[in-house]
Amino acid sequence: MIAFLNKKEVFTHYLATLKYALYVITHPFDGFWDLTHEKRGSLAAANTILFLTLLARVMKLQFTSFVFLKVYWEGINIFLYIASVLFPLALWCVGNWGLTTLFDGKGTLRQIYMATCYGLTPYPLIQFPLIAFSNVVTIDEAEFYGVLSVISLLWAALLILAAMIQIHEYTVKKTLLFTVATGFSMLVMIFILLLFFSMISQGIAYFISVGRELLFRM
């Protein structure tokens, strides 16, 4: 009985935090402050929003009218396509956290992740109806589609910026500076990863060729 009640409470809490995303996107400064400081957000809700974002992107490929999105299916790898969101997101969170902890940022990695995911809310919120919308408009009305699509991205970007201001307790100027710096740190990380993987593959190739040589001689 208690377990059930507990479960129900957890569930209502989850729903409340998810619903809070709708408040956050309309009241970003207020919302992001309370998100972490008043514990009105949850990781589960953040994960859900991220999942919906990925779902929106994948569904968009399949269900958007070809008038607006022509997909070269031969060139699509669904895992790579999903990774094209997750990988930059991971880099962003780690890069941002790594930099801001050095410069008086108050946010933890968990908070940065949560706030960023909450910031993504407008994307699924606009993109899902857009998929349906794309199927009832012609190319003459393409501007509506384009504008709404841009709004969904711009809104999300501004929300993430606001989130960074609130959770790190930075000024606007400092946030902008650190957003750019995070961009560079992402590039550095990509560079190191590439270096790492190319080194590893070179190393493996070396041992393989040594092994081959041995096999030939024996």
Partner: protein, 498 residues
């Protein structure tokens, strides 16, 4: 390169990932091909087959042709400018695969100093049988009557932009029904020279407007004098050839294009000029008519883009351009969609060593090869005949028939995009919008799809108007009703009558 650009732009909308490099094996796998919406090569059955390759012997001439440059077809007569031998050969096509020499024109009568030709490069024949001959090294365009009597000549235009001391080298000519002469001359890049019937120079036609780009400006400001001299100067077009179609529009082609311009579609190697000299060519196809879309590829085997040396327009508004680099023929319809590409460089029949001129006789295409000294005649195959039939049926307003013929085309080649779009357009005219949409969607034709969808949507709304009004009514009134009910409930709950 263009293809990757297109894919990126298409996928940027979805910010999709380009997995793997888009390399399409471009080795010669077939003779005839086309491009699909994604600009991938789709091999196709031949639209044209070689009826014959005719050399001087086959035409009944004693000595070989030498570097022939010009070809003109008038009815069943064919005129070849045998440039190296300073003569013009008049042939008649007696049967589908045989030619007979009617006359060898190497001089004319008249009261002028020189009554022979020196490197004649092009010829045109008017409706009343007058010959117009670009007599290049004699620096004149001759007008002769049908019995080869000298009538008049067109000389170097007198214009402030032309140095009178420079040599006038008329290369290619065309005439309109009123007797005006249009000439593409070597070293003259102001456009086509236009002469009135009385021989007066009346201006240049079809000069490209010189565009000015602010990035060029910045580069020029930063560059040193030497670097600036090396930068490509803004030189307008020098046309390589021209063709006057039956309606009086000039199809002109130029080989003066850069790869960058071709890649971003700002180069216009093929133009259709109206009387004002404005380019009115329709470029509604998924890619611009620039010849091959691939060049410099590892497998393309050719260096550089297609360069056109001649162009001709059939009566059904399909125009065919001749690529001298690859020895290929590119056919486009009046909307700018590619209809076919075939040919190649080589010694076999249907391949060329240095194609110099192109003309058509009905649906047949004639290509003059200036190294091989031969004329290759192409006739349509069953497939090509059906494609033309379908296009012409549509142009003549027989939309249903056109659709049926396109279906026949599809039986022969299921990869032929124009057939799907053709069926779609036919269905659109028959007001079968939903079916038309399916055909357009298959071949990514968003413009036509939108046209069909607009009509379909209108029909749908008209059919379901009751439902829509009902739904709207519910959406608007339900919250009101719910609110009212809640209010009453609240009043009852809070009332203290109990």
């Amino acid at each position: 390169m263009k293809k990757i650009m297109k894919r990126i732009s298409a996928l940027l909308l979805g910010a999709a990932v380009l997995a793997g490099s888009s390399t399409v094996a471009y080795a010669e796998k077939g003779y005839t091909y086309n491009y699909d919406w994604w600009e991938d090569v789709q091999y196709s059955p031949d639209l044209y087959e070689v009826t014959g390759v005719f050399t001087a012997t086959d035409m009944g001439l004693e000595d070989k042709l030498s570097g022939p440059q010009g070809l003109y077809v008038c009815g069943s007569m064919i005129y070849i400018c045998d440039t190296g031998n300073n003569r013009i050969i008049e042939l008649e096509r007696t049967k589908k695969d045989s030619f007979e020499c009617r006359r060898i024109i190497d001089s004319f009568k008249g009261d002028v100093e020189i009554t022979t030709f020196s490197s004649p490069t092009d010829i045109a024949v008017s409706e009343d049988g007058c010959f117009y001959i670009a007599d290049m090294n004699n620096q004149r365009i001759l007008k002769l009557d049908k019995d080869l009597n000298y009538l008049m000549q067109f000389d170097q235009p007198v214009d402030s932009t032309i140095d009178p001391a420079s040599r006038f080298l008329p290369n290619k000519i065309s005439i309109d029904t009123a007797g005006r002469v249009y000439c593409a001359a070597t070293n003259i890049n102001q456009g086509l020279i236009k002469y009135e019937p009385d021989g007066a120079f009346s201006g240049f036609v079809g000069a490209t407007e010189v565009t000015y780009d602010w990035t060029d400006y910045i580069w020029k400001r930063l560059a040193t004098k030497e670097q600036r001299a090396k930068l490509a100067s803004f030189v307008p077009t020098e046309y390589s050839n021209l063709y006057m179609d039956a309606e009086g529009f000039i199809y002109a082609c130029t080989s003066n294009v850069t790869e960058d311009d071709l890649a971003d579609d700002s180069a216009k190697p093929i133009r259709k000029l109206n009387l004002m000299g404005t380019d009115i060519l329709i470029r509604n196809g998924p890619f611009a008519p620039i010849g091959d879309l691939w060049w410099n590829g590892e497998n393309s085997g050719y260096d550089g883009p297609s360069l056109f040396s001649d162009i001709t327009a059939l009566e059904n508004d399909i125009y065919v351009a001749l690529d001298k680099v690859r020895g290929r023929l590119f056919g486009y319809n009046d909307q700018g969609d590619m209809v076919f590409t075939f040919g190649g460089a080589g010694n076999m029949d249907g391949y060329f060593r240095q194609p110099s001129a192109l003309d058509h006789m009905g649906h047949d295409l004639l290509v003059l090869d200036s190294v091989d000294c031969s004329v290759t005649v192409f006739s349509t195959t069953e497939f090509g005949g059906l494609v033309y039939e379908a296009i012409e049926a549509f142009q003549n307003g027989k939309y249903y028939e056109s659709g049926e013929i396109w279906k026949e085309v599809l039986k022969l080649n299921g990869n032929y995009d124009l057939a799907y779009i053709g069926i779609g357009r036919s269905l659109l005219r028959q007001e079968k919008y939903h079916e038309a949409m399916e055909y357009f969607e298959l071949k990514w034709d968003d413009e036509n799809y939108s046209k069909a969808f607009k009509q379909y949507r209108k029909e749908w709304v008209e059919e379901h108007i009751v439902l829509i009004v009902l739904a709207l009514f519910l959406v608007l009134c339900l919250p009101l009703a719910v609110g009212r009910v809640r209010k009453i409930k609240h009043e009852i709950d809070t009332a203290d009558i109990f």
